[in-house]
């Protein structure tokens, strides 16, 4: 076998639809690679042990903690951050609803909330408020008390279901 231990690893991945190649230090978190090397500072690094959810990203179609994944592990992955999801318009209705319902104050948790909420909404069901709370239970917000965020996800789920029927 040719591959052995390295302290820097070559990775080739897709970020927000663009191919990226880089050599990353083995201990570097995916979230720090995105923020410091690529300048994608939308998702935030906060608790850095998987508790707060501020670093939530979409990796290969699923919401993932950016601080519990090393950049070295992202070789071949398809990554979307809040910047990419904004540019494509994927979460436009969700973002508009966050503003309309005042579901953010400082905004620190919002990028992670959006990615986590979008994962639930993409399932295409009409989640109950309890299911919404459960799905977002890994994303901390210290401002809103969550009620407005749950309102947003509930209203967007209804709106999208209505649109799908129309």
């Amino acid at each position: 076998m040719t591959q052995t231990f390295r302290d820097r690893v070559d990775v080739s991945l897709t970020v927000n639809g663009e191919p990226v190649e880089a050599r990353v230090p083995v201990g570097q978190h995916l979230i720090d690679f995105l923020r410091t090397d690529l300048g994608l500072t939308g998702a935030h690094a906060s608790c850095e042990h998987g508790v707060c959810g501020a670093c939530t990203l979409r990796v290969d179609g699923q919401a993932v903690r950016g601080c519990l994944m090393l950049a070295a592990q992202a070789d071949g992955a398809e990554i979307w951050t809040v910047e990419g999801l904004t540019d494509t318009g994927t979460i436009r209705d969700l973002q508009d609803a966050f503003v309309a319902r005042n579901a953010l104050q400082c905004g620190f948790c919002t990028p992670g909330m959006l990615v986590a909420a979008e994962e639930l909404l993409e399932a295409g069901t009409l989640p109950s408020r309890a299911e919404i709370r459960e799905h977002l239970s890994g994303n901390y917000c210290r401002c809103t008390g969550y009620e407005a965020i749950v309102d947003v996800v509930e209203s967007v789920a209804r709106a999208r279901a209505g649109k799908a029927q129309a």
Binding site: Q3, V26, G27, D32, E48, V64, R65, L70, G138, N139
Partner: protein
């Protein structure tokens, strides 16, 4: 904090992973879903590890039928176990357990093999493996071997896996007709580790009851199992409370955990009796 690691290598198959481990001078660590290991690296509980990324080894993932058992690959992720139809049909305890494990984003990455090998005393899957009477499959330099779940968990974060051995998967017996499996736990917030929890399985041969977050390892509560077989719930609760010695910590006192164990057993029995009706 930022993670500290000494090196990284991506294993292409199990022999390659074992070879990397053998060449790591004792510093090798298998990296699967990373939902506990990367957190530990971040908190500098472990430094200088030579990470052997096994997460790309395709044949360690997935669920298939194997006669009267289900064979579950070690790299099968929690979220996949939660939505798998074979698991739902033949080992519903595991489907039921998934909703208690951490949060959605963690379940998307964490693996069942990682959870078993990590052996957190408060984790759900080790207790499920015990209650189901699972067999764990391991591969090392000298070949493969099977380990009964009852022989696997040795101490806090410690299993009977030998140095360098990889957990490749587990086999769980398919539920027989009329078998009932439930998990009950109490946590302060959704996604937190359980203060205490238990898994109860009722088969024709008798009850199997495992309890977790009540000691250094998940354990079968054999006294309570015997009392349940005899149809005496009060005696089972008494036996369960007597056969555990739960620790006190910042989350809960030992005596509160002992109290919870009995409450959870009554809830679990109520649920399986409800299923019989």
């Amino acid at each position: 904090m930022k993670a500290s690691a000494g090196g990284y290598a991506r294993a292409v198959d199990v022999p390659h992973a074992l070879e990397l481990m053998a060449g790591s001078a004792g510093a090798g660590r298998y990296l699967a879903g990373g939902q506990s290991l990367v957190a530990a690296l971040n908190m500098r509980l472990s430094e200088g590890d030579m990470l052997i990324d096994i997460s790309r080894i395709a044949d360690l993932s997935g669920i298939r039928e194997d006669g009267d058992h289900l064979r579950i690959g070690a790299l099968t992720r929690h979220a996949d176990i939660g939505r798998d139809a074979l698991i739902r049909t033949h080992a519903p305890l595991l489907s039921d357990a998934v909703r208690h494990i951490a949060h959605a984003a963690i379940r998307n990455r964490g693996t069942i093999g990682g959870a078993l090998a990590h052996a957190d005393p408060a984790a759900e899957f080790p207790a499920c493996a015990l209650a189901l009477g699972a067999t764990l499959h391991a591969q090392g330099g000298t070949g493969t071997r099977d380990i009964a779940a009852e022989e696997f968990f040795e101490d806090v974060f410690t299993t009977t896996l030998a140095e360098g051995e990889i957990l490749t998967g587990l086999s769980v017996p398919k539920a027989e007709a009329g078998e009932v499996q439930v998990i009950e736990e109490v946590a302060r917030r959704s996604g937190d580790y359980a203060l205490t929890g238990l898994c109860l399985v009722r088969r024709a041969a008798g009850h199997r009851l495992s309890i977790f977050s009540a000691g250094p390892v998940p354990m079968l509560a054999r006294g309570a199992m015997a009392a349940l077989d005899a149809g005496d719930l009060d005696a089972a609760v008494e036996a369960l409370r007597a056969e555990i010695d739960p620790p006190s910590d910042t989350q809960a006192s030992g005596s509160y955990r002992r109290h919870l164990a009995g409450v959870l057993l009554r809830r679990a029995v109520k649920r399986i009796e409800g299923d019989r009706a």
